[in-house]
Subunit: 239 residues, 6 copies
């Protein structure tokens, strides 16, 4: 049995709270159980230097954790003077995932930065950030459409959402929390679009190597969970 | 008239939300109008190197702002590689203010770090952080008392709270929001205890120098506002 | 009694030595007793990026301490890779204080940087830096006037000087040296103009909170001391 | 057709040159075509601070690129003051991959660092680094065995090797070079053991999302290629 | 007797391997015995900011060491966040030495960076880097000449090469290896041109100060060795 | 003729001012004409980590320049976040030079740091720093002897002093000031002991390479100048 008491395929309670920022063009407080991530999209009328005059825009992400988002307080990255390897790896993943569903030419020469700050962590912060980041990006693009800056349908190509699946006590489980993640044999993150296309797969054997068969089980579980997440995204933006 | 439509002495709606963290020993989401600061107290069973074997503990604070807490997105300090002068100045002020009401000997050889992270900024973030930080510190000390680590009454000497007052359009006003702060002639931050003792005064003439008389007006206004804040703290911890 | 043997209101010997630099447009070696600060003003025909084409100039300050300016050698900030919070706080204060008496529009699109480097420290380095920095700024503006770049009287609006006052052994004392500062209950820095306007007040309770009455005593003492400092500035620039 | 003229499943010429260091305990210059990586294993009789007295050792990796390993010169990371996100991501991957086949308890309280420095880059540097890094690790463990520090067979559990596969012009191809990598639709890196267990999977859709079917094709191709690489490792260490 | 068994004036085996890079405009793997330095010249069509529109180009160098180039593994400079004083000192020396034989006006507004990365160190890395760096620079200029960008003979004024000489066990010896360097009383590096002009002399007494007479002995020894090195350069570029 | 109007061998006015610090164990304000360097020696009862329990002490130096020590204001190194290559090179040279005349075993397990801060620069700052640094070191050792910590004569082995010589307009000149240094063909720094032993030679051809004959002229000129400097040191410490 899972420490959380959930069934193997059972996800945690997922919620998206929109309109949580006075300032940002798009905003979403996403919760996957006790994992809470504030996703704020910022529009800027400029692109990174290496993209100047290229006729297209850019979507990027930054990721951070409050020092006491975790069980033990971690050192503040601003104070230690650099972002750690884990932080950089995650924010690159979020950025790639969001760009996978955006038509950068149709966006025009602008940059959208989605800041994903973990207010409370309990496993799966990167998958929550991608899934909630999409909502913030959606609201930012709707904000732009209202001001006749873009046509939403030309820029946003699809939904994107993410889930972690793992092998825990010999069984395939979905949406691992911190306790499960810490003792899972294998942990994999999947990013997929609303139409079921795969955007990213990152699977790691924490202990013993895993087999192709086991991996296929993880992928099947992820497909189902991401389908559910996309449904929830649709409900959230319909409100 | 004030841009906010408030009367000169009128503060913004102030609220303290406790129990907002699964992990921290003390926690408070404080709101001064649209200024929202998450204050999380972390207890560690060690002291800074320069205080080892000195027979007393330490209370310190760290301050941060989410990049899009503000109207324009600011660069993430973790990414720029250092904390700016404003950040360092504010976190030193919060730390001094909280230490002013703590008996460090009675705390024992432990450190409490109060992380104050601004989720949304609209002026007065440092005064909200001090006022809400006190609640987080209070809850941390109660947490310790429950575990028989300390006697709360020996460690916590008094309340501490803070407010900004300024001279806006020739008039003394309390609790400036961002718009008022930007065009005030003079801006002063006051930190006082529950018994009315002064812990910190920081007054700055933004435009013309101010007179002793004007300053006394600011101080009187601050006294009254801080009295109100302390009352609200008492209600919050009584719940 | 004060460790220095001085009477409560008695300041240390104050002197301003001008023309101490072969290169700088304005220069002053200021001494408040054993506190020695070299203030050098540098004129540059450019403004910070955020002020470009705004039709006005900028006055800023930088502060540093030689590693052995103090009783124990401190680590060189250039070697530790960053300026500490105290340094940043002080140089921001010096800059604000000097700008309070300068008409930035009349200065034109230029920047004056006043470097205040502490050669020897014995308490009150920031107040000495502001008071001596004003002399360096004055000489820089006279240098510019000689070259018909500005009209001095339009740019320089007033004198500015600073003093620290504190409560030591229950008594209000002026111009604390290091020994007094280390054991004072309350320490406050005041920055005022030649006409008595207040530019900055920074008061901190080191031990017990202080009362409004005590604070008014500090302010009165500061007023008197700053009056004396401004007189000394006038003598210095008349030579 | 592939730009390299290779058949879809055809790998580049792979070679392992051992004994290329006067100093290192294990060394291998690995070449995957024009991608050349120097892998040097260093043994130290200490472990990272967080592993002290835990009764086991550690294997870690560092990755670097000479500034002109690439077509355009890149800025030297030592000069820019930090390792980029890509570098950190890759060296974490190499470390995890090597640890997957090492019994850390049997290693004892020692650390082996495998430095993988890219002398020339033409795509696939991380897969070459893992595959050649294993040889360097092997030689380091043999060096230790000769000195009776460990029993090789208890420490080294299996081979580990890696390959990148991608979808290029609609076809599954193995071992992408830089030109192919730049225009592939999907790029995935696979790390597997000698017995066929999967250690890491990292798949990224560069353009369009990919399907489960396409991914299975990549995995099959990787399995075959890694089988070949393990054979070549066996020949190399038999010499 | 020398630890290396060489005669006092005997240099180590010196070799230059050209065409060792798929990408660089000029390349040379230089070996002075067990000291191996990879020198790669990169041409860029831009100059440093301070040289813009000055009508001339720039030649500069960067120096690095692989972490395990040495007997004990050293910390990677990219990871420690800065280049050490020794590194900066050496790369400044290499840059000055190469510029001494280049006509920067005839080069045009371009920059050539010669990266000298030590793959294996056994003393004399800086002298090997200068001597091999000249070959890389030569090949880069020939590459440019082929593309009619410059006239080689107008840009390259002479050869430049370098050697270390020292006083070991009371005797003048040439081309010290690490073991000799570690226990030499005096160590001096000499950089000279093909025509025998002196470009740089750096002599340091490690233990006892040395006399003028001893220094003249070192200089004579260096002259002879550099003559030999220049001959070897001529052979290398003739191939 | 020299821009300074001096004769070829003529040095600038040299002076040593002792007792210029309230805090440092040894102190000297050295002036070579308009080059002014404050040298402060600090004694610490600990050694660097790599020298622990080695039964000997350490002498080291740090070098800095006030931002406006020069004609144009330079960026403060503390603010730019690192010490430049020139700074590191110079402070390493000063440290080596002073250690050349100290018996580190006789010093005991202590460290003396000589901070050399340039208050005003006009060429020759490193040679002034070495020459004045010796005075500060001398006074520090005498301070220790008074407290029976060491025997001065066992620790201090000799004087050390330094001078720059160059070839200016075809002529050998001593003690170059900034103007001469900027346009000299060759610039060399010499460090020698009181008994005439050579500690360091650093010669650089700024334009054309120089000949052995020219170099010998520089060395002869340096010998004479350093003899004079040592005489002046003797007078200074006799006062």
């Amino acid at each position: 049995m899972r420490p959380s008491g959930r069934k193997p395929e059972e996800m945690r309670a997922v919620s998206f709270e929109r309109d949580v920022s006075k300032h940002a063009e798009g905003a979403c407080l996403v919760k996957f159980g006790d994992t809470h991530v504030l996703c704020l999209a910022s529009l800027e009328e400029r692109v990174p230097p290496w993209l100047r005059n290229a006729g297209r825009g850019w979507v990027t992400a930054e990721y951070g954790m409050l020092p006491r988002a975790t069980g033990d307080r971690m050192r503040r990255e601003a104070s230690s003077g650099k972002q750690g390897g884990r932080t950089l790896e995650i924010q690159r993943l979020i950025g790639r995932s969001l760009r996978a569903v955006v038509n950068l030419e149709a966006l025009g020469e602008r940059q959208i930065t989605v800041d994903c700050d973990v207010l409370q962590a309990d496993g799966g912060t990167r998958t929550a950030a991608i899934t909630g980041g999409w909502i913030a990006l959606h609201d930012c693009l709707r904000w732009m459409e209202k001001r006749s800056m873009i046509s939403y349908d030309k820029v946003m190509k699809d939904h994107v959402a993410a889930i972690s699946c793992g092998i825990f006590a010999g069984q395939t489980v979905a949406d691992l929390d911190y306790l499960e993640d810490s003792s899972a044999d294998t942990d994999a993150n999947f990013v997929m679009t609303g139409r079921g296309g795969i955007v990213e797969i990152q699977g790691t054997a924490e202990g013993e190597p895993f087999s192709e068969e086991q991996f296929n089980g993880l992928l099947a579980s992820a497909k189902s969970a991401i389908g559910t997440l996309v449904e929830k995204q649709k409900q959230a933006i319909a409100e």
